[in-house]
Symmetry: C2
Subunit: 251 residues, 2 copies
């Protein structure tokens, strides 16, 4: 939950993600956490207005109809924006530590990733993935950045398992640090149309068996991200920005 | 100071930035902070080896010749890598709060920015810029990511002052949230060759006077970064990645 300040008025504009259906004449019941935010953090009262979205039904104006210590009820007004969709691009990434993991979820949401998939490779050091925390980061980024879409976060899966079940129609854009792959801006324009995924390995890179398997996967496309080594979170966001510009909805 | 672990050996490889000239047969004297890191954090002893770089003379192997509680002396061995240079791309950014500011300095270093320039716009909320902290973040990113270049961090300057003195030969790529500018991937290929800068405004955007002034600047190039609103740090890194791919050294 977060409220960017309108620079013209200096007043905070609240956009709240709610996991409930939204429709004309409907209502939304809030539990303790968003109620605390509205009441104690933002000091809102019955009759105050805000905006709500759920990632499926667009964005709606809402009015606080009831506000207790642990729960609140919102009355829905008009639909402000119809639902938009992100391009069909997954971000498949090996988990990293702490704040940089939060950061990947936030930035990938701002950059319009469709789905976030934590993947455990042979050299992945961080093997426990806090999916609710990643999801909370994606929600917060969507609230702050006026996004209508919160990308779903999948449970962590091993790379071997992920590739066993890989949909051959989804191009797997695999960021290759070896220097042998064509630069991403040259490789992407020639990739097949349709669904895609960006795969970012762990900080130590993929091991030989994984590299061999990726090389044999018909839907894999190896790309390079320039002459410098980047941390995994930087590489993920750089690749996602390039994809949106060349194949996604920046066009 | 940071030491990525070699995934094959499991042993930390130390790369230390030092602000001293490096040459064959030379020596480097370390002060308290890097000495503490070598001795107490990394548990290194006299005779142990590491690598050092200074952003100007390439990367050198070094051996610990003396190690006391508060100082150390390194003997330089061979030059391991000749000095490389980053493309002439500045990142000019309105300061943001706390960790996201550190993050801009780290990620811009990984993405090969040539110079970092904090800029104070009319709507910039954060007006105090801790330049030594930004520089420390750039150094740490360079150490961790095998970079040879640490981009200089300029003192903060107002946008008005920066534009008063703007070199007309440097294209000022200005990220425009209005939706009216052409997408960055379409605008950049037609930009003049030569030095460039990416300008990212504050979270509230530029005000009308600033937008008018940017519009009148002959070397300014307005670009769009897609249909979603991004936080300033995300926009900075996305634009830098696109520039490196289209005009920089990813080609």
């Amino acid at each position: 939950m977060a409220a960017p300040v309108d620079p013209e008025t200096g007043k905070a504009h609240i956009r709240l993600f709610v996991d409930q259906p939204l429709c004309a004449g409907g209502a939304v019941d809030l539990q303790a956490e968003p109620t605390h935010y509205l009441r104690n953090v933002m000091r809102r009262k019955v009759g105050d207005s805000l905006a709500v979205f759920n990632g499926a039904d667009g964005e709606w104006s809402a009015t606080i109809a009831a506000l207790d210590r642990k729960s609140a009820r919102l009355s829905l007004g008009a639909c402000i924006r119809p639902q938009s969709r992100n391009p069909d691009i997954w971000l498949v990434f090996a988990p990293v530590k702490g704040a940089r993991m939060d950061f990947i979820a936030q930035k990938a949401t701002e950059l319009g990733a469709g789905v976030l998939v934590p993947v455990l490779t042979h050299r992945t050091v961080v093997r426990k993935v806090n999916v609710p925390r990643l999801r909370a980061n994606a929600v917060e980024a969507a609230e702050q950045c006026n996004c209508l879409v919160v990308p779903p976060v999948h449970e962590a899966v091993t790379l071997d398992r992920l590739l066993d079940d890989w949909d051959p129609a989804r191009t797997l854009i695999h960021c290759d640090e070896s220097g042998a792959a064509p630069p991403i801006q040259e490789a992407l324009p020639g990739a097949p149309e349709g669904p895609a995924a960006i795969l970012i390995g762990p900080e130590g890179g993929f091991d030989r068996a994984e590299r061999d398997r990726l090389r044999r996967l018909p839907s894999a496309l190896a790309v390079g991200l320039g002459p410098r080594i980047m941390r995994a979170d930087t590489a993920a966001l750089a690749a996602l920005a390039l994809w949106q510009a060349i194949r996604g909805d920046w066009r």
